[in-house]
Symmetry: C2
Subunit: 323 residues, 2 copies
């Protein structure tokens, strides 16, 4: 597997301890409260009716029609499948991916035979047969307005917009005004804090979503994911409260880290990227206190932190620097 | 979606009622008792450690080495992926599938460009670049001994053996003596009665299992599936009791149906296939009592029933014929 956050078992092997606060991902540490999972969701083959129910709830949340929504086993599944389906007439062309960004996009494109260029700016994506933007971007938090995304769509063959971190910022989403040649990926696990469930969505204007479902095969989304996803996405009160908590937590985290000579590079409601003199040293210092963070092989000064999920977790973080 | 069992929502729309006994699948209706799912399994990205733990438990259950086992999101996921990975040098060749059998195999092969022949016997599979056998077979219950499977493997390029219904009959499995050119698929949801979880396995002797994992992408198996799968597969006492219950239930079901002028065509511990004068009429009669069954577009005399899961369910079935 490529270098990712969430590899908490490796951290535990290296540093010992069993009371880790995993801030190495962008997964909300205050998850939507899952109650009892129905026996039906666990035992029966997922039904068409439960799939349609999730499409309807997701469409309402995203601002599109239910038929545009393809539920999938995580945004990751879409990242694997789309480059294969978008190969024009059996021969992959030139793809361009915003960079730096989530590393699975370029890897999956290359595995499907695409020639992949990394682009530092939106303008540098122009002319690609297939372009990928993560909006807001991971790890640096750059974001683009829907008008900018729409303008980019006119300059490329097909555009994939990975909105995995867009739930707290619906005004950024291109979904309500989706051009024909744009496919949007949404994550469920990050904002709702339920990454273990494996649920995500591809949203398109075209028949592509039927080809995605065919490629994934029958019952590709689990019963618990269909059931919990539909209940959580319908819980708009929880979502509003979560956005407020996350925004306040982000401000709080920035204050703590800036007092440690970290500069904020950028971030979203779900992670913050800091520049520091020696990111590996800071990661190790945090890890000795059982707080796991993310560093990047391509930039020795960057450290990314997810947001602590409670006052107690913030307290543990402050202890690191008071020790 | 192709014609499958488990479409209980369609049955409900057609016949009303909400107290269905779904016998349209081969899923054990006495599921392994899932306790509480850990918060970690729901919230965190599945870890490498939980994946390895499941590989170890599955290997012990199947009779192979842990490295041979690729956990997947259902045997269905393997059925979708394998035909793509087994395409030799970019051009699919001639595949042959035992017939009649589970319809997703031929469909998935065709979607990957394979020319697909249907073979009534094992001998008719000889010479194929890629052959598929379901052992024991669905829906007719035909089965082949490991020596027959090994002999077949010598006559084809690559052989996929779908052992989705083999858990109660470990002596049929080719896994403990797996030839290099054979890939075995195992299901978790059927025998353990937890089809909603989406868990299955591909078992190989070769590096193919690494290519399967790469193709599926990171975190393709959910946290609950990894956790519950490892716990259930380690519960050999439950498995032994389940085999006894299922065998007795099969005898019982055959008696009931044979008293209704049904002939047993064949079956496994998880489903029974009957021949009757008019399968659609019998399906409708059962459906009016909210028991859902499976009929087949290619044979108007075949009706397949999963096994009732309790005395109460057997009672409901007997009522149909006493009414």
């Amino acid at each position: 597997m490529r270098d990712h956050g969430g590899d908490i078992d490796k951290a535990a092997r290296r540093f010992g301890r069993d009371d880790w606060i995993d801030l190495s991902t962008g997964i909300n540490r205050r998850p939507w409260p899952v109650g009892t999972i129905s026996e039906h969701a666990l035992t029966a083959l997922p039904t068409g009716a439960s799939y349609v129910r999730l499409q309807e709830v997701a469409a309402l949340a995203f601002g599109c029609a239910p038929e545009q929504v393809a539920p999938m086993a995580g945004a990751s599944a879409a990242i694997q499948i789309l480059p294969r389906l978008l190969v024009p007439e059996g021969r992959a062309g030139r793809a361009a991916v915003i960079s730096p960004s989530y590393n699975e996009h370029a890897a999956s494109l290359r595995a499907s035979g695409w020639e992949v260029a990394e682009a530092a700016t939106i303008a540098a994506l122009h002319g690609a047969d297939l372009a990928v933007v993560v909006n807001p971007n991971n790890p640096d938090g750059r974001s683009w307005q829907p008008a900018e995304i729409a303008a980019l769509a006119r300059e490329v063959g097909h555009l994939i917009v990975d909105e995995s971190f867009a739930d707290p910022r619906p005004e950024l989403s291109i979904i309500p005004s989706l051009p024909e040649n744009v496919t949007v990926l949404r994550s469920f696990g990050k904002f709702w804090g339920l990454a273990g469930l494996r649920l995500g969505f591809a949203v398109t204007q075209t028949a592509l979503h039927r080809r995605i479902a065919e490629h994934a095969g029958p019952w590709s989304v689990s019963g618990p994911a269909l059931e919990i996803g539909a209940a959580a996405l319908a819980d708009r009160d929880w979502a509003r409260d979560a956005v407020v908590w996350l925004a306040e937590a982000a401000v709080h985290l920035d204050q703590i880290m800036m007092a440690q000579d970290c500069t904020l590079v950028g971030g979203t409601h779900l992670f913050r990227l800091y520049e520091t003199a020696d990111a590996a040293a800071l990661q190790e210092r945090l890890a000795r206190h059982a707080i796991w963070s993310r560093i990047f092989p391509y930039n020795p000064r960057w450290l990314r932190l997810g947001l602590p999920g409670s006052r107690a977790e913030f307290g543990r973080l402050r202890e690191v620097f008071n020790a």
